[in-house]
């Protein structure tokens, strides 16, 4: 299917299929509490979206974006996140990041990333501590800190190494957000989405190459550290589902390339100079408005080139084809 003819609904359906598969894996890893968190983020997102559309008297149409935001938000959260934090994050995503900017298609930030960031700034302790995969997590709203620990990312940032086997990293068997660590599954997902033209291959590969080179240089050509780097801090997840989000990504190819470069630079800066766990989230929020601006610049540049070409053409035409031009002029005068 050609990307030009691919509809929003088709892209959202592809995204939804992939996200549901990853969410199912999360429920398998973290049990019923993960399912409850997903139920909350999805239902609150959809209900809030419905209410906002009613208040704005806007047509919902075939808009699955609230559903996608709900699942994405759930995947970024800890399985032990307090239920109220999930509710607030979902409401914030839809009301502030989506409808305050004019609804679907007008967003300048990824809604899920914005909601997550707001919740993580509001409930830092609860949002950034995680239970172990396959452990018993109480169903109470607030989980006791005794069963929680810091993430694999935070340990990796501190020590620049980790005691995890390659298999564990690839299957996401480490402390962290519910659905952002399944490296193998993410790779399959990105192949599927690129093949279906539901995410931008240009942006994704630009980011992968730049961040790969950075990780190689930073970790002295240690392949395992490079894999840890991509698995940690929601990086791979952010590259696929947040930075390549169809609603905020630039429309032109050149802009998508530059956008990928900007996102990668932001990740590198945050990773190098701050102790933040989720550099990808901050990078997405900073680079997405730049991406939109890139589109505008690309269009005005294209207009400028077009105008210059026409001026150039007008100037050169008489010089190169004087006779032909005189004929045209005569013809025009006769017509007049």
């Amino acid at each position: 299917m050609n990307s030009k003819t691919k509809t929003d609904f088709s892209i959202m359906t592809d995204m939804l299929i992939v996200l549901i598969v990853i969410a199912s894996m999360s429920v398998y890893y973290y049990g019923m509490r993960a399912a409850v968190v997903f139920a909350i983020t999805i239902s609150v997102s959809v209900a809030t979206d419905f209410l906002c559309c009613k208040l704005r008297k806007a047509d919902m149409g075939k808009d699955l974006s609230a559903l996608i935001t709900g699942i994405t938000l759930g995947l970024m959260m800890s399985a032990s996140v307090p239920y109220y934090a999930a509710v607030i994050a979902a409401v914030f995503s839809i009301v502030i990041a989506k409808h305050a900017f004019g609804g679907h298609g007008c967003e300048i930030f990824n809604a899920a990333a914005t909601g997550f960031l707001f919740a993580s700034l509001s409930f830092t302790q609860n949002m950034l501590t995680y239970p172990k995969p396959f452990s018993e997590i109480p169903m109470t709203s607030v989980v006791s800190p005794d069963v929680l620990s810091s993430s694999f990312t935070s340990a990796f940032l501190l020590t620049e190494s980790a005691e995890l086997s390659l298999i564990d990293v690839l299957i996401g068997k480490f402390n962290g957000p519910m659905g952002t660590g399944f490296v193998l599954l993410m790779l399959v997902a990105v192949v599927f989405l690129i093949f279906r033209r539901s995410v931008s291959a240009i942006t994704f590969f630009t980011e992968a190459v730049i961040l790969g080179i950075y990780a190689f240089v930073r970790y002295d050509n240690d392949i395992m550290s490079v894999i840890y780097f991509f698995a940690s801090g929601m990086l791979l997840f952010g590259m696929i589902f947040l930075s390549c989000d169809y609603s905020i990504i630039p429309k032109t190819k050149s802009s998508r390339f530059i956008y990928g470069v900007v996102f990668s630079i932001c990740v590198i800066i945050f990773h190098s100079y701050s102790a933040t766990e989720n550099a990808a989230i901050y990078a997405v929020i900073i680079s997405s408005p730049i991406g939109i601006e890139l589109d505008r610049k690309a269009l005005s540049f294209a207009d400028m080139i077009k105008n210059k070409k026409s001026v150039f053409h007008k100037v050169n035409k008489p010089l190169n084809h004087i006779n032909e031009t005189l004929e045209i002029l005569e013809k025009n005068e006769l017509e007049k």
């Binding site: 707001f118 700034l121 509001s122 409930f123 830092t124």
Partner: protein, 206 residues
């Protein structure tokens, strides 16, 4: 725009307090509110400082001759503001020294606030002295009430307290303590405020 159309004293008061509320409708001088009005006590300091500087600056600015060119008039308003600032800061340092410290750069910045320029330039040339002062007083009251309301809501949501007393809120949204959180909350309250005004207007029209 929602405004009371009559030019009577009642209309001026309604516009100043509600339909043209400096914070919720006009969005004027919101930077110190977003940064400083974290809780009710800080908001009280902010409100007193703003009221003192604005009222006396506008009062003295009303005597600036109207035939002076615009650019010079603006410079004169700022000089008057600077002159009012000196006794105001001395008075407030005596009354609430910690509050003045907390206000920091925002206190002297009141001198050049858009509120002073807009009120002095739009009202002074159009209204009589009596109506002009009525407008200034109620605009300041409208601003103060909006700041206090905003700070009270922010304190409840961000800290779970009101005037420092714990009220047992189930959730405290810490992000609202930051300027970005305050900005979002102010936007939401302004949206609700304007919706209520529109609703009242529609009901009255019916």
């Amino acid at each position: 725009m929602i405004v009371a159309n009559d030019n009577s004293c009642k209309g001026i008061v309604k516009n100043a307090l509600l339909y043209k509320n400096p914070i919720f409708v006009s969005g004027m001088v919101i930077a110190p509110v977003v940064v400083m009005a974290n809780n009710f006590f800080d908001a009280v300091t902010l409100v007193i400082a703003f009221s003192l500087i604005t009222f006396f600056t506008l009062l003295m600015s009303s005597f600036v001759p109207k035939n002076i060119v615009y650019t010079v008039r603006i410079i004169l308003y700022t000089i008057i503001g600077a002159l009012v600032y000196v006794p105001s800061v001395i008075f407030l340092k005596y009354l609430m020294p910690e509050g003045v410290e907390a206000l920091g750069i925002f206190f002297p910045l009141f001198i050049t606030s858009s509120f002073i320029i807009s009120r002095s330039e739009t009202i002074f040339f159009l209204e009589t002295k009596g109506k002009m002062f009525l407008d200034i007083i109620f605009c300041i009251i409208g601003y103060d009430a909006a700041v206090l309301l905003f700070a009270a809501i922010r304190e409840i949501l961000a800290f779970g307290t009101i005037c420092g007393n714990i009220i047992g809120m189930p959730v405290e949204i810490a992000a609202l303590q930051n300027p970005f959180g305050g900005f979002i909350l102010l936007g939401l309250i302004a949206a609700v405020f304007r919706s209520i005004l529109l609703f009242i207007k529609r009901v009255r029209q019916k």
